[in-house]
Symmetry: C2
Amino acid sequence: MTAVTIQCCAPIAREPLSETDAADLAVMLKAVADPVRLRLLSMIGSHAGGEACVCDLTDAFDLTAPTISHHLKVLRTAGLIDGERRGTWVYYRIIPEAVNRLGALFAPLTEPAPRSVELELTPA
Amino acid sequence: MTAVTIQCCAPIAREPLSETDAADLAVMLKAVADPVRLRLLSMIGSHAGGEACVCDLTDAFDLTAPTISHHLKVLRTAGLIDGERRGTWVYYRIIPEAVNRLGALFAPLTEPAPRSVELELTPA
DNA sequence: CTCCTGTTTAGAAGTTTGTCGAAGTAGTTG
DNA sequence: CAACTACTTCGACAAACTTCTAAACAGGAG
């Protein structure tokens, strides 16, 4: 059921990116091109249950709550994470499709021609 | 022989990135988090022979030569490309290991446990 | 309702980044 | 050597970014 569904742009070395695709991807990459946001994304994604509370995230850094909130907003605006308030706390989780899109962009491409490069994730 | 050899950091959602790894990766991601540099990288990687001359790259953009040169330097400093002068022209090519490192970072991770995720590139 | 905690918004200060024009280096050709 | 082309370095400046403090908003407890 977790179909992965990688689509948007071929690996970066297959064919030149269009101006539009490049601009589009740059937004996502900019969001992830910061040490704090990288760690936030990693913490959220690797947290038990696939989601993490802002309170946990804030405690893990030597930064103020507004700063963490700002970084989370950047990740959210870029479509990489999604947040939900449940009672007192707000929980964030990764949007896998977005992360997969980045993975596909930098996927290894040993041959110029599309050989049989397959990810064996769902053995059917 | 193209062993790929992906190593450095587990996928982003496997375990929280260390502060050092995050800072390290952020340098590479910052280099790639710009529409012009993304297109440059893509043009270089997808160019015939695996390398492109600066003259070709400069012509493809509406930017001055110094600006293109600056962007190439950012990519080079980040370890993503390497340049070589041959006679009159300078040629740049992608460093695959660096790009693969980014690919590994965003590789899909459907299960928390390390299942049999294998890239079938060298059928031995 | 009032107070307290968790989170976001608003505004400001300091730094980094993208771009340019001008000038410098490298190699080819006459 | 002189002139020309290809590319890089330098210095400058506007725009964008990271971080902070202060203040607002949201929900739970007394």
